[in-house]
Point group: C2
Chain length 394, copies 2
């Protein structure tokens, strides 16, 4: 008796839940430390100490109902001011509170943007491999997903294919760099080429094509890598940010949207996003953590925690003969499956208590994703198991 659309989602999502439950079952059978669960993107690095201090300070300073009360659907004015200022300082932009809407994480932000923009049958282009939830977010508003394949060497989107897939119905493009699941960071050169194509296509079709930059991993980059700020390259860019990974607080559901005033139909889009925030039931981003995020906006989770994991896992797996892309950001490693059907490979890995996500979940079969936001010990202890696993293929 649930809706037909939901019936399909439930069927598909049971696979993910099955894996999660398999992990729980294994842990109870063999012990937590004998299960190597690389399937979840749940940060294991603790939040910076500033987070807890911020909570204490805010509670001490702000008394009365306003701290926990409703505010404008966009969020607290002072918080949005702080967010704008911080972006401006880092990226030479000129955002004020009018350009910022606080959101219930990046997932909430993406839903707000897509609800605002999409008419039924509008197309949204995503670049494989991509975070599987994009498909559901787009379908929530009866949009149509259009997938562009990657160059299999660099895992950058194939721009020739992209250019062919942009058409009159293309309303938006979702870009995710640093990328989940590959860890690739798109270079400035790449962004310029992409923007160029978009501008030409807008001109050709006399439409507006919005580039939605989903950036939950912006702060998680290694080796001094730079992540270009896309509003500086393409006029119709909307930024979707989350503090989940930067501050290790994904459960608190706090992020923001950036709408540059240069956007086509800027005023309508911001008004629409406010209404969408309200009617989708978010109403506003959680109030206390809006203030916490603003106070901790220049803090960052311990990057060396993930970097150590990254190097240990990447080098360990390469040494034993696995093929993988060295991640430049985020906390995922995308590994080539030693057999063509990577779901079989994931199945085999379970024998060694290793849990991974098949690339099919990211529209990229033949690969598997390992989330290395686990403890260092998990990686150290898992490596000999991977060694046994790869031996099966030699």
């Amino acid at each position: 008796m649930i809706s037909e659309k939901m019936r399909d989602y439930v069927k598909n999502s049971s696979a993910i839940r099955a894996m999660f439950e398999e992990g729980r079952r294994m842990a109870s059978l063999y012990g937590e430390d004998k299960v190597y669960d690389f399937s979840l993107g749940n940060p294991n690095a603790p939040p910076p100490i500033g987070v807890e201090n911020a909570v204490m300070e805010i509670l001490k300073k702000e008394k009365g109902p306003s701290l926990h009360g409703y505010m404008n659907n966009s969020g607290f004015l002072d918080v949005r001011e702080e967010v704008g200022k911080t972006i401006n300082k880092k990226h030479g932009t000129a955002f004020c509170p009018d350009n910022i809407i606080m959101t219930v994480g990046a997932a909430g932000g993406l839903n707000v943007v897509l609800k605002t923009l999409l008419n039924p049958k509008d197309e949204v282009i995503v670049f494989a491999p991509f975070f599987g939830e994009y498909k559901s977010y787009i379908e929530n508003y009866d949009g149509v997903l259009s997938v562009v394949s990657p160059d299999m060497e660099t895992f950058l989107p194939d721009l020739k294919e992209f250019e062919e897939k942009v058409n009159k119905k293309t309303k938006a493009v979702i870009i995710n760099s640093p990328n989940n699941p590959t860890g690739v960071v798109y270079s400035e050169e790449f962004i310029k080429q992409l923007s160029n194509i978009l501008e030409r296509k807008e001109e050709e079709y006399k439409t507006s094509i919005y580039l939605i930059s989903d950036e939950p991993y912006r702060e998680l980059v290694y080796d001094g890598m730079e992540v270009p700020y896309l509003t500086n390259y393409y006029r119709n860019t909307i930024v979707v940010y989350s503090f989940s990974k930067a501050l290790s607080i994904p459960g608190e559901r706090i992020g923001y949207l950036v709408f540059p005033k240069e956007l086509d139909d800027f005023r309508d889009i911001v008004d629409g996003a406010n209404v969408a925030t309200r009617i989708l039931g978010f109403v506003n981003a959680p109030s206390l953590f809006q203030k916490v995020a603003a106070k901790c906006i220049s803090e960052k989770t311990d990057l060396s925690y993930y970097d150590r994991n990254r190097r240990a896992l990447y080098e360990g797996l390469m040494k034993m003969g696995f093929t993988c892309l060295k991640p430049q950001g985020a906390f995922y490693l995308f590994v080539k499956s030693p057999e063509s059907d990577e779901r079989n490979f994931c199945q085999r890995a379970k024998k060694y208590h290793i849990l991974m996500v098949p690339g099919s979940s990211f529209s990229c079969p033949g690969y598997v994703r390992l989330a290395y936001c686990v403890t260092y010990e998990t990686i150290v202890n898992a490596l000999p198991k991977f060694e046994e696993l790869i031996k099966e293929y030699k």
Copy 2:
């Protein structure tokens, strides 16, 4: 370039924003204490001291990333257990964590339920006067709103009309007691009659009709009034609860859903609601405040604060000749407009710096809603202004 559906919403919502901005404008012109803003349901009673203490205790006790991390989409297990136990103790039910999903407030909860249940064109019955957002929530999932009028004496739904409006396409009924905007609490007798009709109609059409009980004001009742727990009366009941008003923390966005195991298609509905929580972008209810809510579940905002306001405003207005229903719960007073077009009346009231919401916003023209969740002083100072206002009609 925003979606057509959103374009209409933006147009309509500008009326509400206009009023809000009018209030802000007046306050800056005449001073905050010279503006009597009864338009917003933003609790002015402070949260019980337990809320702040709970935050401190939780931060002291729970270290590491798990407190602020992802959990199951349903929410923390211990929190759901506590919620179930508390309901069981109060209402003689038998809920366990499996029956509970923590939500981003009641608005988030309602969206999750409607997303789970509705196929396009499914009908959802609501009882006028009703919270205007229900319309948007239902239309988010292409459902069709069906409105049943009230008995104009008691403001209880007209059950004869209700019976006529239930049909084969009726998927759900939303009920809201204590009611926004009338403050009416539906009696046990009324609930029994309603359940009876629903059961007969389910039998007649061989369908499941879900009764969605939206209960953000459950804890706000006066004069020892009892609010029946609907799962005890009708099998296919889903409860939507929010801590926003009970704990004066609406900005924190925390509530829960109750799915009794007796529901038709219980397993599908709970699985569906979990998926809906994920794909709508909520992902999970804010983590710290899940724990805070569980710790404070038996606490309550200072009811005497609202009760004093209720009596002062009701008695004051009645004495000067206004007609209004004595509210039994919530913090709203529904007042008959002295002229048939209540929007004119609201307009005139602005001269006296009084802001109210026209009943048309609740599908009940000819009345206005006053939210008395303001300071007591606002009411005391507003009464002479109301006196001047009503004189215009004598």
